[in-house]
Amino acid sequence: MKHFLLATTLIFSAPAAMACETVTIGDLTVEHAWSKATIGAGRPGVFYVEIKNSGTTDDALVGITTPAAGMPMLHETVVQDGIASMPHAMSVPVPAGQSVQLAPGGYHGMLMELTTALKEGDSFPVTLSFEKSGEVTVNVDVLSLRAEGPDCADAGQ
């Protein structure tokens, strides 16, 4: 029984641990990549991540690609005069010495034309293209539609 409980804990904690995985490219650190479960493949998915630039040169996220979606795009949720809109973001600035978040209510990746529904507990790769640093691939954990972010010990740092 004890072993069973331990195994169950490991299975359930594995996805969260993956979202807490850190990938680096040049001066950039990419972590906390997560997404929300979708109902079917017709509705768009979403992609959130944190990027830290510890260098002295400004960079920018200029695009994302993933086998999980036919048309992934960068978007920004903008609320003006109380009305939310979601314009396409040509790029997301990652200034030298700063961190940027693709997070609920702000910048996010919109995953249109999903190849399959995103299910809680699944993961999929997303390749981020940076203007200066080039490309890096992260594993994205699918959390519940209700999730507000991955549960990492260092989240928010």
Partner: protein, 180 residues
């Protein structure tokens, strides 16, 4: 108290144009996610929380529904009399069934409402909410919409709006004031 009264009186003419009408004066008829007809009169005597959205919305709507679910959990049984409704601004795709699959991911007290385009337009007019279809490449589209959460007292009077980017710590106290 006198000060508050004077303030309200002074501001009423300027603000009334943009405030939602009382629930009892609203005239829409919508269908909930279980296929039942819902009219404003069904909400008489109960506090109400409404927000506009659509289920093809990847960011704002699930974020708002997650927040609302957390508030409801914090309020516990105090929120059981609260009517909590998502009104779809995308009735073309948001059938009652589509809404049912969506709201089942959140607090069970949240209902989804949809209906014919003219009834959704009437609801938006009554709440002083706006929405607009934005066409995208390839025939797909998204919706711009009012993102705030509308609160009404049990007697149907408009109470306040919780703005999308408002500090979420103020939401539960606002809700408690509306419930009492």
């Amino acid at each position: 108290m006198l000060g508050v009264g004077a303030y309200r009186t002074r501001n009423r003419p300027a603000r009334s144009e943009v405030l939602p009408v009382p629930i009892g004066q609203m005239t829409w008829t919508l269908t909930d996610h279980q296929g039942r007809l819902v009219r404003p009169s069904d909400w008489a005597g109960r506090p109400v929380m409404v927000f506009f959205g659509f289920t093809w919305c990847p960011d704002v709507c699930p974020t708002t529904l997650s927040d609302i679910s957390l508030w409801l959990e914090e309020l516990g049984a105090d929120a059981d009399r609260l009517i909590v409704a998502l009104i779809s601004v995308d009735p073309e795709r948001d059938t009652p069934d589509a809404l049912a699959g969506y709201v089942s991911n959140f607090d069970p007290r949240i209902i989804g409402l949809t209906g014919p385009a003219d009834e959704v337009a009437q609801a938006a007019a009554d709440f002083r909410a706006t929405y607009r279809r934005v066409d995208k490449e390839g025939g797909d589209y998204t919706m711009d919409h009012t993102a705030g959460v509308f609160l009404f007292h049990p007697d149907g009077r408009f109470a306040s709006i919780i703005d999308f980017h408002e500090d979420r710590r103020f939401a539960v106290p606002k809700l408690r004031r509306t419930l009492s």
